[in-house]
């Protein structure tokens, strides 16, 4: 049995510039950090059972791989040439579609687990690239590559997407105490509104030409954001996040809606310096950067709006930044000869 753990992420600015329609013309850039919420993938070898079993929100057990409904597991197994004798399960600390990148975290964990299953060790870059290939080329999802890289590498990074498809991951090296202050200045709420990233991104993709200037500004603002992170300019970060959110809203009609706008505005009115919706938009999580002494006020005000809107599962999600990326926590599968 092999157990792999991949972190979720929060992204600050630059989302959308990781789509090929943009970064083929000029490099895209995002800044994000891994957080202490995880997706786990467990792979088990079943030499006596000639089936493919996948356990997630449902359990599938098929004799032929082509009958598997889970598109990404099916594509990944096909790609790896595995068609029987395997059982794959996934677990997560958060529901799906929160805007925290969980579906790509799953893919990176799956890729790492299947490679380990075949006796292959791969590094963070290889796992991220393979997961991007799986989601974008093999499954055909209209998504970018930022989440695969964020999950695979872990930590706080600037991720740059180059026109030649290469990706550079540069860690933002932050003093421990400054990192704690930034962490303490964030408030994250799960709206309980869910959406598929693909529904928003399909429109966003179609708009890349007309929004090229806006996207360029977003990519260009990433180094300045990192600079402010390094100097602990929390108020400045809030202002940048706010500007970024306004730009992101202009990228596609369904990035925001009235419920999200009301939640966001109530946080700003209660004293937050800025914020954004995490993920492609349309739902997911809303995040604020705020003075630490305004947190209770913001909580109260946002929760009041949520209850007016009958968002029953609305809640605050406490988070910590983490350094670890997608890791094999346990590998008790000795079928293949060990390397070296």
């Amino acid at each position: 049995m092999i157990v792999v753990r991949a972190p979720l992420r929060i992204s600050f600015v630059g989302g959308g510039t990781d789509l090929p329609g943009f970064y083929h013309r000029r490099p895209g850039r995002v800044i994000s950090t891994a957080i202490d919420k995880f997706v786990y993938v467990v792979v088990n070898r079943t030499p006596m059972i000639d089936k493919v079993v996948a356990r997630y929100s449902i359990t599938e057990s098929v004799d032929k791989l082509e009958d598997l409904k889970h598109t990404r597991i099916k594509a990944a197994l096909t790609h790896h040439g595995i068609d029987k004798g395997i059982e794959i399960s996934s677990f997560a600390s958060m529901p799906a579609k929160t805007g925290l990148g969980s579906s790509s975290s799953f893919s990176v964990a799956l890729i790492k687990a299947l490679n380990a299953f075949q006796g292959k060790k791969i590094d963070a870059g290889e796992a991220a690239e393979a997961a991007s290939h799986l989601e974008i080329n093999l499954v055909g999802e209209p998504i970018g590559k930022q989440d695969q890289y964020a999950a695979s590498f872990g930590g706080f990074n600037i991720i740059q997407f180059n026109p030649d498809e290469s990706v550079d991951v540069a860690p933002v090296l932050i003093d421990f105490k400054k990192k704690l202050l930034l962490q303490d200045s964030l408030l994250l709420f799960y709206t309980s509104l869910t959406r598929l990233a693909s529904s928003v991104l399909t429109e966003q993709k179609a708009n890349i030409d007309s929004k090229f200037q806006t996207l360029s500004e977003m990519a260009d603002s990433v180094p300045e954001f990192a600079e402010r992170v390094a100097h602990s300019d929390i108020r400045g970060l809030g202002a940048m996040l706010h500007q970024g959110w306004l730009k992101k809203k202009s990228l596609a009609s369904n990035v925001s809606n009235s419920t999200i706008d009301d939640l966001y505005n109530s946080g700003i009115d209660a004293g937050a310096w800025g914020g954004k919706i995490l993920g492609a938009g349309g739902g997911g999580c809303v995040m604020f950067i705020c003075p630490t002494d305004k947190k209770d006020q913001i909580r109260e005000s946002v929760k009041k709006v949520a209850s007016e809107k009958n968002l029953e599962e609305f809640r605050e999600i406490p988070i910590k930044f983490i350094q670890s990326g997608t890791e094999i926590l346990y590998n008790g599968d000795y079928f293949k000869a060990p390397i070296a």
């Binding site: 791969i122 590094d123 090296l173 350094q323 670890s324 926590l329």
Partner: protein
């Protein structure tokens, strides 16, 4: 004599001022990640570097969290390789000195671990063999070397 000591002290201070901050920051991130996933840290070196390794193991396993362990509930898990003198001589006598670190490392290494290799020259064969083993396992390597930056350990290390 006093002048020699003063010059020597100045050289040490200059070296400390020129520490590669970015590489050290990367090393800290690697160690934090290992801590978060409950991985182990293997430290090794020859001669004086082995003494450094032993000292460092004590710091990781005991001293680092002394002041705020309540918040953290657990310490680092660091191991000096080889962990016994018997293993050093067994590997050296039976196989050869080149294997005194790689041999024991292969015995322990898991995907979630980290390696810290200390070598003044950065070219000691036994150190490089162990580091190459770690790289094959895609385990992060923190390399500490001196003299010139143009050495094998520095090239192979992640920080």
């Amino acid at each position: 004599m006093k002048e020699f000591i003063r010059n020597f002290s100045e050289k040490v201070q200059t070296s400390l001022k020129n520490l590669p901050e970015e590489e050290i920051a990367k090393a800290l991130n690697i160690l934090q990640a290992a801590y978060e996933r409950d991985g182990r840290i293997y430290i090794f070196g020859n001669g004086g570097s082995m003494a450094l390794a032993t000292h460092w193991v004590a710091d990781f396993n005991k001293t680092i969290f002394d002041s705020n362990l309540e918040e953290h509930t657990r310490r680092f898990q660091a191991i000096r390789l080889p962990s016994t003198e018997s293993e050093i001589t067994a590997w050296a006598n039976d196989i050869g000195y080149d294997m005194i670190f790689a041999g024991p490392l292969k015995n322990y290494i898991q995907d979630s671990d980290v390696v810290i290799a200390i070598s003044s020259s950065g070219n000691s064969t036994n150190i490089i063999k162990a580091v190459e083993l770690a790289k094959q396992h895609k385990v992060p390597v923190i390399g500490i070397s001196g003299f010139s930056p143009d050495n094998k350990l520095n090239q192979l290390s992640d920080a």
